[in-house]
Symmetry: C2
Subunit: 342 residues, 2 copies
DNA sequence: ATTTTTTACGCAATCGATACCGGGAATGAT
DNA sequence: ATCATTCCCGGTATCGATTGCGTAAAAAAT
């Protein structure tokens, strides 16, 4: 079943004009007489003519679409980011093609190629937790594909980036736990490859140092799949709870880790915050309804998406190659609730 | 900045062949000698040739992309559905273009036109809470655009549909509240226009009747924006709590209504389930971590998305016009937790 | 009245890939 | 040796829209 739309040719035939005349009339060219223009425009209105974007893409060598590559759509943070991207894109006449890596390297590469082969004009991406070989991204970028990174960025690549102040967020979160009387604070982070992991851990460490608390390597655990799998969080927690000096509080460095950690505590009947304080990076919008209400470091996800989309579109639409890249750093918000108050 | 890809023309020039020969060699036509084929294929591999999907779309009059129109991406149910759609689409070589209505009629119409103008091959949609004029959908559908409805479907339109057994879900949820000793059960539903609202309310009513409980019109409240706005839920709840016979339990008919209702109870210090039992339609995947853990009617969202995508693709790829439409009804799952147990 | 200029439009190429048609060359048949 | 067949491949139109170039006809200038 096909969906037949009216073309410029139909208009030309109907009005006894050439396609070039119709095209120019529609674009309001000075070469066309007012009467002809009016006739064409009216007919176009009546027939609800819409230029075929595919033909345009072929001619203009741009598809007016941008790709977004995230690890998982069904994740508050990413869906909020996509929301932001979508609002800007829509407004500027672009559509958004979404792909997900599911935190898997192979899927990320194939998604990237997929987007490239669908000839998107640019890509906004946050790398998967597994990725530590950035050659696929680098290659595509080297070939001239416009790209903007966000959240999990790649340090070695020169491109526009949008992130939050992760170090500061983790620093404040940790400081807050300390202020609330927790002494043995552990950190459950995402994959060690990720920029956000490094930054957040650094913030955590800095806060400990500034408060004269010794750093304990056993207190830092990584989740290779970014917390996607419950098991990896459980494994990390078991290790922590078995260490010589059991932690009395945890800072969790991603959405999934935070919630899976709560699941673990619920299962093991570890009472938060009495037995274990908790603060986590999370963009859930019902953290206050959790039991106990959850203290979080929240990222301004929609704004990040908007900013990333603006940067990408400016890059796409710029006449000459972009040589100066900016890294936009937005502040993370801390929301103190029950889970981190002893 | 442009992203230059290799074309069939480049291959032809490099090998001293015509574009038609190259094209045929790539498609393994019998008219091309094995040696030429091999040369072409090898060169194509070396240069990492990818056919330009835009040129193909123009020629074939299909874009290999499908549109998805939902009210809101950042909603567990819809993002899970999109997840399902995406997995099937990706596998079959289609990409997914997402648009959202934000429960607004005008945005829905414009998103629909947007998708059509981006010449997607088909659309999977769930109408907005505000929509009660389906002429825009009808028109597009009448023009031959392949469509599949899910969740919030349009009764009057003959198309493939994917839903859950809403009546049954609401019936079981209500019965469960009754079984647990609640007597005055109210229902906070989404917009009265929606199919899901009608079906869920019917299930609620049927359960009351079957248990010899009188129907009280004051006990049914609607949220015109589907619970998107906290205020409309608060207003509904205030009305309910002021009615002569105060309800002792609520069945909430959408994700957003459920969570906003919990917010309201928390704010007003109405203890769930002691003061007010609650069960709600929700696809959040951490309802067991809420305080109290939330009893829910859950939809198999990913499966719904998969099924909808399969139906749409079969429709798109069918040679002749589809005349028989099926309505796939999946079972809703009931998860009984603390919030509905007195 | 003739030349110049302007106006208003059509022709045709182009983007990348496909497919119909047509034709040269090699092989086989007689 | 001549004709028919098969094999391989190229030319060209096509999809929808844009655009540089060419050009009648009308208007303006001389």
């Amino acid at each position: 079943m096909k969906f037949e739309a009216i073309t410029i040719k139909d208009i030309a035939k109907a009005l006894g004009l050439s396609t070039s005349t119709v095209s120019r009339a529609l674009r309001d060219s000075y070469e066309i007489s007012p009467e002809t223009k009016e006739k064409v425009l009216q007919y176009a209105r009546e027939t609800n003519y819409r230029p075929n974007p595919i033909a345009l893409s072929l001619k203009e060598k741009r598809s007016s679409s941008i790709g977004v590559l995230v690890s998982e759509i069904a994740n508050s943070f990413f869906s909020q980011v996509i929301n932001g991207i979508e609002s800007v894109a829509q407004e500027r006449g672009y559509n958004v093609v979404i792909a997900q890596s599911k935190e898997n390297y192979e899927r990320e590469v194939s998604a990237l190629n997929y987007l490239a082969s669908r000839s998107v004009d640019g890509i906004i991406l946050s790398v998967s937790a597994e990725t530590h070989d950035f050659s696929a991204i680098d290659q595509l970028y080297g070939k001239g594909m416009a790209m903007v990174g966000f959240d999990r960025i790649v340090d070695t690549l020169q491109m526009h980036k949008v992130i939050v102040n992760n170090k500061r967020g983790a620093y404040d979160a940790t400081s807050q736990l300390i202020k609330n009387g927790f002494k043995n604070i552990a950190c459950v982070a995402s994959s060690s490859y990720l920029s956000i992991t490094k930054e957040r851990i650094q913030g955590y460490i800095d806060a400990l140092i500034d408060n004269n608390i010794a750093i304990n390597d056993e207190f830092i655990e990584y989740c290779a799949h970014g917390g996607m799998l419950y098991d990896e969080v459980e494994t990390a927690m078991k290790k922590l709870m078995k260490s010589k000096k059991k932690p009395d509080a945890i800072i969790a460095c991603s959405d999934k880790i935070t919630t899976n950690l709560m699941r673990y505590c619920k299962k093991e009947k570890i009472i938060i915050p009495q037995k274990l304080g908790l603060i986590g990076f999370s963009n859930l919008d019902l953290t206050e309804l959790l039991s106990p209400s959850l203290s979080v470091v929240r990222q301004p996800a929609a704004d990040m998406g908007k900013k990333a989309a603006e940067l990408l579109l400016s890059m796409i639409e710029s006449k000459r190659a972009v040589t100066e890249f900016q890294t936009v750093v937005l502040p993370a918000e801390i929301h103190e609730r029950e889970s981190s108050i002893k």
